[in-house]
């Protein structure tokens, strides 16, 4: 797999580290929303949004939108942007 890092351009998978589903951190005390955020994951056959870090490159955390069936990469953007 190759991902196009917004800083570094297209790079090999080995430079990246998977960081789990791209979810938004809830606020406040523990709640079912927190439970979902920490523990529950979709396992989509199709489009997914994931965090990846370009750890061996520029160290940016990225959101990768890709298809788990076709392996197409739809978008790679900076996570904090």
């Amino acid at each position: 797999m190759r991902l196009t890092c917004p800083h570094c351009g297209e790079r090999d998978l080995r430079e990246f580290t998977y960081g789990g589903a791209a979810l938004t951190r809830p606020e406040g005390d523990w709640s079912p929303i927190w439970d979902e955020y920490v523990h529950l994951r979709e396992n989509p056959a199709g489009r997914s949004r994931e965090f990846w870090q370009h750890g061996a490159g520029c160290s940016a955390w990225l959101v990768v939108e890709r298809d788990t069936v076709t392996h197409d990469i739809h978008a790679v953007t900076e996570a904090g942007a």
Partner: protein, 180 residues
């Protein structure tokens, strides 16, 4: 204790330079090294301040600027590495001494891209990585920075603690390129 002195020891690369075929690997001394991370909205001002103080501004991603004895190399997300001169006062940035954290090699000769093809997953042929290009990548699992500092010279920076593994790994790749 005024008589107490500390000796400076270079990174443990083993004997360098080594030449294999048309390629030579040597230990480079880039002088002082410090990283610069501009605060929010300060990149342009920091770039100007550097230009004034040391004659080199902040390059864009994947690039390196050099002038006189100083150079500034893109080093990652919102991060640059300044080499060769002592740091000026840069109130708009986080400045961190990196002068002892890295081992710096120069890989010189016409087959640099062939050697690097065995080491990193990035195309370093001049068309893809022209003079003064600077990238971050991994070399056999080790985080490195690679820059083309001259048409026939690739500068490879890795962690100081990995100096001997880097030397061995790069030398082996040079040997194979020379043999093929």
């Amino acid at each position: 204790m005024t008589d107490f002195r500390l000796a400076s020891v270079p990174p443990a690369t083993g004997p360098l330079p080594v030449t294999r075929g048309a390629m030579t690997l040597s230990l480079a001394d880039p002088g002082p090294l410090w990283s610069v991370a501009p605060h929010r909205g300060e990149a342009a001002a920091v770039s100007r301040a550097l230009q004034e103080a040391i004659g080199v501004s902040l390059p864009g991603p994947g690039r390196r600027h050099a002038a006189g004895g100083a150079s500034v190399q893109w080093f990652g997300r919102n991060l640059w590495l300044v080499a060769g001169v002592a740091p000026p006062d840069l109130p708009g940035a986080a400045v961190t001494d990196q002068g002892d954290g890295w081992v710096t090699f120069d890989l010189a000769g016409p087959e640099g891209a062939d050697v690097m093809a065995r080491l990193i997953p990035v195309d370093t042929r001049p068309a893809a990585m022209p003079d003064q290009a600077a990238i971050r990548t991994e070399l056999h699992g080790m985080m490195v920075a690679v820059a083309r500092t001259a048409p026939d010279t690739l500068r490879i920076m890795g962690f100081r603690s990995m100096a001997s593994t880097l030397t061995r790994t790069i030398t082996e790749a040079m040997e194979r390129v020379a043999a093929i």
